[in-house]
């Protein structure tokens, strides 16, 4: 693995995780829309606020592979021909719309219809971002390892796998925070808010109106889960387990097809195929396989039977899956870059 590939490995994997997370949240909201809105929003909105920092981080590291940052605004000039320009435009637009949406959600501003419209636009921009990222590589006809259907498939499976797992992970962490809060409230009922929406008491030395608003919102988010919320969390987790394991299995199935294709190609293609061997490749396969098994069997089963008060093990398991999947995808992406061999001289 080459050190100069690291910014691109991080950039593509992290942005794809952000896109996947945002879309997974949208799908969950859509599927749960017939339930009561407060429950749905309480389960998924904390996750939304984790997407932003991830994307900002991703875009920031992408700057590292430009060697003259002073010319950075030139990179959108060739939008009508270069997929690299399009990738940057989609990335910035996805970030801007996603940030706007998160702000509206946080402060409960804007009408429901407005927020939904912005969410849909953001999701479409996200899909555009992953698609243009894939085309940056696919469009290089001179690199057989990249000019293949496998690249868009791999980029979208990364998006789905890491997206649903990030949602699952953030949801379980929130559930843990809320369970702790519930335990604390049980121990000292005087601290417990009588109503989640009750106006917070103003502590001494607090900032202005905005600080109060933010604090009260955090308090609201961290308020103990209701039974209905836990039921929804468990159901969502089962869905995540199914979708995640299917994505992981798809990743494993794509490799033999992809490598078979490269093996039948020209000299450059065969040089690329040789990259997919050795410890790093096997580690990638094992980690992804383990993710599929843990998700498909253990997380799914446990989500069915676990009580909210004893969800710690389930939370740890989901976070373990997220960790395995992230490391697996980072290794897979590093291999993608190492496989770069061009035709010609």
């Amino acid at each position: 693995m080459n050190l100069h590939d690291v910014p691109m490995v991080l950039f593509t994997v992290v942005t794809q995780m952000s896109v996947g997370t945002f879309i997974a949240l949208g799908v969950i909201q859509l599927l749960a829309r017939h339930r009561d809105l407060t429950t749905t929003e309480r389960v998924i909105s904390p996750v939304l606020y984790a997407v932003g920092p991830a994307l900002v981080f991703g875009l920031a590291v992408s700057m590292l592979h430009m060697n003259d940052v002073t010319h950075v605004f030139n990179v959108i000039r060739h939008w009508d021909s270069s997929w690299l320009s399009r990738e940057i435009l989609f990335g910035v637009a996805f970030g801007a719309f996603g940030f706007g949406f998160a702000l509206l959600e946080w402060f409960g501003a804007g009408s429901r219809a407005l927020r939904q419209t912005i969410a849909i636009v953001t999701a479409v921009l996200g899909i555009g971002l992953v698609w243009s990222q894939a085309m940056v590589y696919y469009s290089l006809v001179t690199v057989p390892a990249w000019h293949t259907w496998a690249v868009p498939v791999q980029f979208f499976t990364t998006t789905v796998l890491l997206g649903v797992l990030a949602v699952g992970g953030a949801m379980m962490v929130t559930a843990q925070v809320r369970a702790k809060r519930a335990a604390a409230d049980l121990a000292d009922p005087s601290e417990a808010p009588s109503d989640v929406a009750a106006p917070p008491e103003q502590p001494a030395g607090s900032g202005g109106g905005l600080a109060v608003l933010v604090r009260s919102r955090i308090r609201e988010i961290n308020a103990p889960s209701t039974g209905a919320e836990w039921t929804l969390t468990a159901r969502v987790l089962k869905g995540i387990a199914v979708v995640g394991s299917v994505a992981a299995i798809t990743i494993l199935v794509v490799y033999p097809l992809y490598l078979g294709q490269l093996g039948q190609g020209d000299a450059a293609a065969q040089t690329s195929a040789a990259v997919f061997s050795g410890t790093m490749f096997w580690l990638r396969l094992v980690l992804t396989g383990l993710t599929a098994v843990l998700l498909g069997f253990f997380v799914y089963r446990m989500a069915e039977s676990t009580m909210p008060t004893r969800s710690r093990l389930l939370a740890d398991l989901v976070l373990l899956c997220l960790l395995l999947a992230v490391v697996g995808e980072l290794l897979g992406r590093a291999l993608h870059y190492s496989a770069m061999t061009r035709v010609g001289m």
Partner: protein, 221 residues
Amino acid sequence: MPTQKSHETPAVGLTESDADYGFFFDQSQCTGCKACQVACIDKHDLPLGVMWRRVAEYSGGSWSQSGNTVMPNVFTYYTSMACNHCEDPICMKVCPTTAMSQRPDGTVYVENDKCVGCRYCEWACPYSAPQFNAETGHMTKCDLCFDYRSEGLEPACVAACPSRALDWGPIDELRAEHGDEDGIAPLPDPSITKPHLVIEPHRDAQQWDHATGHIANPEEI
């Protein structure tokens, strides 16, 4: 003076619009001495490792047996390669900044004040024409010695070749004179970028799609 052809070209008309300049390479004459490569580095004062023109050694071979006699059949030939100022320059297509541009005479060059040094063109070009200069943080490449041509001089590599294996000119004229071969291994499928290049092949030259050899000096190019 004797009537030597393009080496005595008059001072005007070496940067004419729509001329679509390109290179002619006589592979049968090339001895792999790299004078062209050195002349290019010297003329453009390129830093160590940046080579707008490179000479690849392509080798291969097999053997056959008849009775108790084993007959070797091996080959090696050289390919001197710079930018081919292609008809469909893939470097220009993929460049996100439009820094990779084309002059009216058809030659491709880098607009320095636009380039961000992302090296995407380096990934794309199958002739390794765009080369990264770490000192400036920008991409650089052969512009067919635009400054020399503006003064009526020939490109440095062409002038330096002791075997007269290199020539240049409007691609139509080169093709009329030397044919239209441009797909000799280790060069890629010419239909990808349609290079403005004509090759007089070495006697052992192999077509790009029937290549059996390998580049013997990868660390030098």
